[in-house]
Symmetry: C2
Subunit: 332 residues, 2 copies
């Protein structure tokens, strides 16, 4: 494999000059720059990121740990993190924890062994002592981790408020919230609090039903939702804490012969592409996934550079109105 020396020899420049060109340091003539790039191409030379990482004590890699790569919310977040990282010339190393605490610890270790610039954590359900002396930036997205460097969240509380208010404004009178998992404390729990506040203020009948870790990991809610909708036959508005749950509410309502949105109105959460692929399409609370990804990468790199970053950042959500719950346009 060609080395820096080979490039220098080919161009007639010194190793120092070639190195300055590759690292964009100091004044360099356009002619020398062109010469070096031509030589790099001719010799198939690739700067050794591994050697660079060793001398810098940190690599151009950002570790990303998620519970389930293939779930639409995480897949969209990973895609956006990759995009934002590339803009800063960093690469993503991906870890799938399957919501397993042991995996999370093992993957943090692997990140350290690979000298990552920092870790972005979308998994993890408890306060780990192991995270205390990490010595690298740890940014969480939609997770509580007291020992992390910074936490990036969407405005879950306001999302719950918007969902309840929209269901009521569209005519629903008895509201059900299928909420996040009961075993794990998460920022998403605030969705229930926002929902509750609006229901209490407007004196609207409401119930909250928690889901389980097992359901979350499998993504399978059919049996559970059949029981819930059978137990509450009068409910005419459902706020589901994810689009995956909302899609399955549609399926169960269909088998029960309940018309959407006439008999039952539904608002989901996340606004992943699933919301656009169902019949009817799902009205959903949109998480600002792109902005959350950009913020997480920027906090991570700032923290790695020794800058002070906010410990918590909450980004705004908004309603994306589709067919499962929409306001009738009044004819004038």
């Amino acid at each position: 494999m060609a080395t820096l020396k080979d490039v220098a020899r080919e161009t007639g420049l010194t190793v120092t000059t070639v190195s300055r060109i590759l690292n964009n340091r100091g004044y360099i003539s356009e002619e020398s720059r062109k010469k070096v790039h031509e030589a790099m191409k001719k010799l198939d030379y690739h700067p050794n990121e591994v050697a660079r990482a060793l001398s810098k004590r940190s690599s151009n890699i950002i570790g990303v740990i998620v519970p389930h790569i293939n779930k639409p919310y995480f897949a969209e977040m990973i895609s956006n993190l990759e995009n934002e990282a590339k803009k800063k010339k960093y690469n993503i190393m991906l870890f799938n924890s399957k919501s397993d605490d042991d995996n999370e610890l093992k993957y943090i270790d692997m990140c350290k062994s690979n000298r990552v610039a920092g870790v972005i954590m979308m998994s993890g359900s408890f306060q780990l002592d192991e995270f205390k002396d990490l010595n690298i930036p740890l940014i969480t997205i939609e997770r509580n981790l007291e020992c992390g460097t910074a936490s990036v969240e969407c405005d879950n509380f306001h999302g719950g408020e918007i969902a309840a208010r929209h269901l009521i404004e569209c005519g629903a009178t008895k509201l059900l919230h299928i909420s996040g998992v009961s075993e794990t404390e998460m920022p998403a729990d605030e969705r229930a609090a926002g929902f509750r506040k609006v229901c209490e203020e407007t004196d609207t009948w409401h119930r909250e039903i928690a889901t389980t870790d097992k359901q979350y990991d499998s993504g399978e809610y059919h049996e559970f939702l059949t029981e819930v909708l059978t137990e509450y036959p009068d409910v005419d508005g459902v706020f589901a804490s994810s689009d995956i749950i909302a899609a399955q509410v549609i399926q169960i309502a269909n088998t029960m012969g309940r018309k959407i949105p006439d008999d039952l109105k539904i608002v989901g959460f996340d606004d992943t592409y699933i919301a656009s692929l169902t019949c009817p399409t799902i009205t959903s609370i949109k998480q600002p996934i792109k902005e959350m990804a950009r913020t997480a990468i920027s906090f991570l790199l700032d923290a790695a550079a020794g800058k002070v970053v906010p410990t918590r950042m909450i980004l705004p959500v908004k309603l994306n109105e589709r067919e499962t719950c929409f306001k009738q346009v009044s004819e004038s």
Copy 2:
């Protein structure tokens, strides 16, 4: 950060012995092994993968290049690749090409700079000279790349045959195939050939309509499908080349008042979780994603170790019968 020397000092063992324990070489007493692991924990020592990569000239990283991380098929493949790589103690570095040839070239360069053990390519639409002298294993999944080390595919031809035969056996008489993109040659094109063969053998009316790169990248087919279903009002069976297309066929058929499966039967391809989340659920041809991922990782590591690997491996597909097209159980 603690070093190998610190661990040796802490345990009273030599650096060589500690290194042998970390690399599992030669006979080592259980007592020494325990001592070393306790010292590693106490000192927060992490073996430096970066230094190891530099001395080995290749890292524990596998580069994975996909066109769209967030599409369900790729998200599920990435998740399975991560899982199989972890079993062999390798990590995944992820690249999103957005189907852009320049990105693909740039990402191959980044992979080389990071001294990856090899690259798995699920993107790429043309025969690149640049891939010829890559000097690292390049495994493609569901892509034609003549210069690659090995290609892993599902049995697309047979998938097309199964889909056509199932539509016909369920009573469809006029079949439409919404096929892959016309601009790019891909193994998935074989689906159309299998579909065509069965239609010709059974003397069944059939048409094939190709989609475009633009539609593929955006995942948006509504306008296109409305035109197609309006142009062919007699069609009573659709074989869609992905579940994303099949989900949108359901939506358009609904707005046209056509009942599924009575008026229109649909078979999708991939069998991603979208097939289970629509109403009705989608009958689909299942790609053996897990086995394809396992094969790709195993070929890559074998090739990296200098072993001979097959240049092409085709894995079997099967029908997953759901609600958009199913055989009536005859009452006796």
